[in-house]
Symmetry: C2
Subunit: 390 residues, 2 copies
């Protein structure tokens, strides 16, 4: 069920408050996903939200959905030239733009057009607002987790040794698609790309990729990450690191599967990774710094004797152990050596992973809602290596 008007009204009020605090008269929002976040509308246009919580949606072409009535005054606006007059009429002088989204050539056009205004950056404000999830958003994330589990359960009986990773991925994705997945995974980081997630088998998992993820995978020429033509064999680990999706919100979950009897060495490393994750879960509370979480993970990996493998990505290590999730798969905050504090109602994924060259990736990933009473785990697939063809 889509968010109700109160959800958007609340988001707009929070933005207006932050704008006021930071000395902005208004925000000029251009990135479609952020327009969606504040209004529920996906539209090609500009969203103006003032510090008095007035909301105007200036649309180029059409709102897209004739039956949708957003929490905003919708104004057809075919030419940007009218924008300065429109803003001045609202007594706006200081205007915040999305400096993390606008490419410099587009930004320059605004600079020229809005020369009479003081332009600033609202990236951090929007990022921080989006990082704190509402009840509605948590419900979406829970539903996303359910759908992901359900899709995996329907997929597993269809998976056979001898399938290529790509063929297997296509079958899992068809299950997700049927359940409302857009076949699109929104990412935040510059140049990042991700499609659904990674289905990798055996040593595929330890092939590095350019993306900042828990693992890479061989992928295909022109998209060198994720599933490849490699055939899935008995007696190797199958990693399913996929995002569940509901109404725009994503959870991130990694689980392992195996055709055959799982070797003791694999099980022993898996148990250590699980112990590490359970140890981190103890610390997941509002007020802890993400640096402390990351350092604890590194220390625990040392204690458990898995440092050599921990968060490796080919010859290198990736310097994180998790990330925020929400409307984008790499939301605020990263769980890395950074001066950021977890807050109540943030949602983060933790993904401790060991890259064992002769085996593949041994790891898992769950998504958590941070509450004052500790973490609420949202992803719900069983946390064990599942032996197939039992």
């Amino acid at each position: 069920m889509p968010a109700d008007r109160e959800e958007f009204t609340r988001r707009i009020a929070l933005l207006a408050e932050r704008l006021s605090q930071k000395g902005f008269d208004a925000a000029l929002i251009r990135y479609p996903l952020n327009i969606f976040y504040f209004t529920g509308a996906f539209v090609d246009g500009h969203l103006v939200i003032t510090k008095r919580a007035e909301v105007f949606l200036l649309v180029y072409r059409t709102l897209g959905r004739p039956d949708f009535n957003p929490v905003a005054e919708v104004i057809p606006f075919r030419s940007l030239k009218k924008l300065p007059v429109f803003l001045a009429d609202l007594s706006i002088k200081t205007l915040g733009l999305e400096e993390d989204r606008l490419p410099i050539n587009l930004y320059r056009r605004y600079q020229k057009l809005l020369a009479a205004f003081d332009l600033g950056d609202i990236s951090e404000i929007v990022r921080n607002l989006r990082a704190i999830k509402s009840r509605y958003e948590i419900d979406c994330l829970k539903k996303a987790a359910e759908i992901l589990s359900d899709a995996i359960y329907s997929f597993l009986p269809k998976l056979k040794p001898g399938f290529s990773e790509l063929e297997a991925a296509g079958l899992l994705e068809a299950e997700l698609r049927k359940r409302g997945h857009p076949a699109f995974t929104r990412t935040y980081g510059f140049g990042q790309e991700l499609a659904y997630g990674h289905l990798l088998s055996g040593k595929s998992g330890v092939i590095p990729a350019f993306v900042t993820t828990g693992q890479g995978g061989q992928g295909i020429y022109g998209f060198p990450q994720g599933p490849s033509e490699k055939k899935i064999q008995p007696n190797e680990l199958i990693l399913i690191d996929y995002a569940g999706w509901h109404e725009g919100y994503m959870v991130d979950q990694s689980r392992l599967f195996y055709f055959g009897n799982i070797p003791q060495k694999t099980l022993a490393i898996y148990d250590k990774v699980l112990a590490l994750l359970e140890d981190l879960e103890q610390l997941l509370r509002p007020g802890i710094s993400v640096q402390k979480l990351y350092e604890r993970a590194v220390l625990k990996a040392e204690e458990l004797g898995i440092s050599e493998y921990f968060m490796a990505h080919g010859p290198e290590k990736v310097p994180f152990v998790g990330h925020g999730v929400g409307l984008e798969i790499d939301e605020w905050p990263p769980i890395a050596s950074l001066d950021i504090t977890l807050e109540e109602n943030m949602v983060i994924a933790l993904e401790p992973k060991c890259h064992v060259p002769e085996i593949g990736v041994i790891g898992l990933e769950d998504t958590y809602h941070i509450t004052a009473n500790g973490p609420e785990r949202l992803t719900l697939f069983p946390r064990k290596i599942i032996s197939l063809l039992d």
Copy 2:
């Protein structure tokens, strides 16, 4: 078969020549897809190409592919601080950046770091180079078209009335995935999103969306374009507007399918759209302006009596009739009212589409290689409305 070294050497030489012409000493390329275009490597880092065609790949973490030997000197480069010294040592003073890709907050970091250099924009240079395809690229596009046709042929016997558009899309996409599709469709335009393409049935086709495509579709809440929960019924048009993919290159193709006897009115409009497309094909030669192509399409639609429906997108019309394709689905040039001339070896898609409110989208789309002898059509699925369950 991935591109050979000569392909990259040639691209680099052409870039070096353009840099020289435009007064740049070097290009600093940061966008992964552009790094791939010039070197074949997908990597998190910086690519420096000088006007003397020297090539340095400064990588943050790892090249990703230990067995891959790009046409570049690969230098681990963990800190940006060394960049100015590195560039100065190469006697670089004037440096071109990708102003169409870099968000302003990232660009500002370069401005600070590279204060001693004259910074300029290489967006147009790269865009124009990429618009002209090599033999290798044309071969990739042909292969992409073959794969797309092949996937559709395998999918059609599985398609049944009563499937939701999403379920049907999942089955088609599984066929594409098995044949090497990354489940990712690269787009260029700011804020544009596309997943594979659009599989729409009946009146779904005429539901507008915020993206600049030939049609929208209901989609799902949070991704309001493309396939939806709507069930595919007998006696309605099924539009399959999908991108075929091979080694990074995409062709764009739209075809129509129908369970039942196709009504005369639908066939009559389809014939007119096909006539319009065939008319445009006559003009597809190096030297024609895209404006002339677009105006001809509009004029021809009037002559044929389909103006009312032509390129409508809900209550509005979209002001184009095609677009370049290649590594991104919306490459240079757009076929719209713009002062751009078609050149030999450009590859463009033409997609005349009629939005008929009581029927849906009646249209088709093909991808063409522009040659001195006229257009070479790359997409090869039969150009007729295919009646299923014949």
